[in-house]
Symmetry: C2
Subunit: 332 residues, 2 copies
Amino acid sequence: MSLSNRNEFNLIERWAEILPAPRPKVLLGIGDDAACLADLKAPVFSCDALIENVHFRTDWMTPRQLGWKSLAVNISDMAAMGALPVAVTVSLALPPHTATDWVEELYRGFADAAERFNCTVAGGDTAKAGEIMINVAIIGELTAHALRRDGARDGDAILVTGYPGESAAGLTILQTQSKPQTAFEKHCVEKHLLPQPRIFEIQAALKMHDAIHAAIDISDGLVGDAAHIANQSQLELVIDAESIPLSVNCEQTAIALGADPLQWALAGGEDYELLLCVDPSAAGKIADLIQTATHTPVHQIGYCRKPALNAAKVLLYNNNQEMPLPESWRHF
Amino acid sequence: MSLSNRNEFNLIERWAEILPAPRPKVLLGIGDDAACLADLKAPVFSCDALIENVHFRTDWMTPRQLGWKSLAVNISDMAAMGALPVAVTVSLALPPHTATDWVEELYRGFADAAERFNCTVAGGDTAKAGEIMINVAIIGELTAHALRRDGARDGDAILVTGYPGESAAGLTILQTQSKPQTAFEKHCVEKHLLPQPRIFEIQAALKMHDAIHAAIDISDGLVGDAAHIANQSQLELVIDAESIPLSVNCEQTAIALGADPLQWALAGGEDYELLLCVDPSAAGKIADLIQTATHTPVHQIGYCRKPALNAAKVLLYNNNQEMPLPESWRHF
């Protein structure tokens, strides 16, 4: 059965049943003109959309994976600010021929991510369109100070969580051969389809919040996102390409596909790992805090310094040779 | 010049310049992973999208009108809860050939509405798509209790602001003759393109907040939205069709087009007027408060009563005869 055969309000009731019960901070959830929340201390607010054939293809992922990813990319923005998510709204645009089962699976994916990261789908809007669009807006609360892009300091160590490049490796597999052939490739595809926002990682690190000066999630590519911190903090971010951790999954996939894993790590995007600029004397301790609490690896990949001639930018070195910067994801 | 020729980050900077400066409750606006807000008391949160060729056509309205309307329909949800808007995020999906001038005008429309209703465009996201989609999420704060759909009581008077049906009259003109011919028609088209969310009206009414039991904005049509209150409050909403205020603009347009203005008022949708269920002894005073503060007319169009046999619904009378209910807006 497709959406065009069904009464909208019945659908909304059905979808609401799939979602976990609202968390205590959500006093009134789906079903009114707006959701009502408990008082919020230091709220943060953002949005991010996934669009069919731009950000995903329905033949590459299940609706449940898509539901997870739609929330996860937004929850990642909360992680990048040092916040915990509270509630999301979901504005869906769906072609009228969309099967109701497909939408129910999408909601199961929302439910998975909401459950895992302790937030509530508090409202939404559904309309018809020519292509699938999932627009999520999210509100969370800071637990310490805001980890802004303009807070990095001269001398800061640059840390990165996880293994950048795996998501781009997974995307390349989907684009070139559609199905992963090895366990390495399977891991990369899963990283692309089911990104893990680093909420627990940043909360562990925030035990040393005074030492964390800036953060960003590397959703548009490590170098491109590092450039935002460089510009907004008016610093040079000096990145040592040899220090960028490449996982065996990423490297083996690159060998099989004849690709360069470093380019995936530098410019691939959609890793949803965090890049942190921290007091260099605390860098080791912060990495330990994250690794102990979550088992997510953390590596130092460079440092921040005052720019020569005020030219804030990212500098990339490999074997002590300056490398050209890769192009990052273009939204148009 | 179109979006595909331009650097995204330059565009975002340009658009941010068009917007008014963030209001004091927005501590950090556009340009980070998320916006940072001041502590919020009793926040409310919702979203609403406008999609090309579903909710609007670009040959019917200027991008500036579209920008206004995108924010206004969301601000209306705040009015319907009894809240004041604080901040919005805007997630834009645009075809790559979209002219940059067009998007700047859209932002001028966002700026107009943000200025008028004292809120801040605090963040956003832009991506390419086949059709234009404008997804807005909004956060506001209650100033009294939440005006929920489930709060109506047996005996409540049903009030409506403004003149329902004008928006549907305007839409019909756009659909049938594209340009309005008379001042009446022009007014209706403007009502459709530039809806006025009833923020100031509800704030005036909330001086008697104890007497206001439920509210909804009639965006999907008066009868359809009244049915939400009926269902959620488990009441019958008895509406007297003869009491529904039809403006001279709506009536004259109906005469010119050979249409029934009452059908527009009952089922047309997109009026963004408020329907309130209030203590009957306070109904006159509440209407006066709104009219005195804003010059927006308020009329009583019916009352709430306990349903016979628990069948909560809307009952419509005309000349003491029960009328069949019109079909309201279907989202699919």
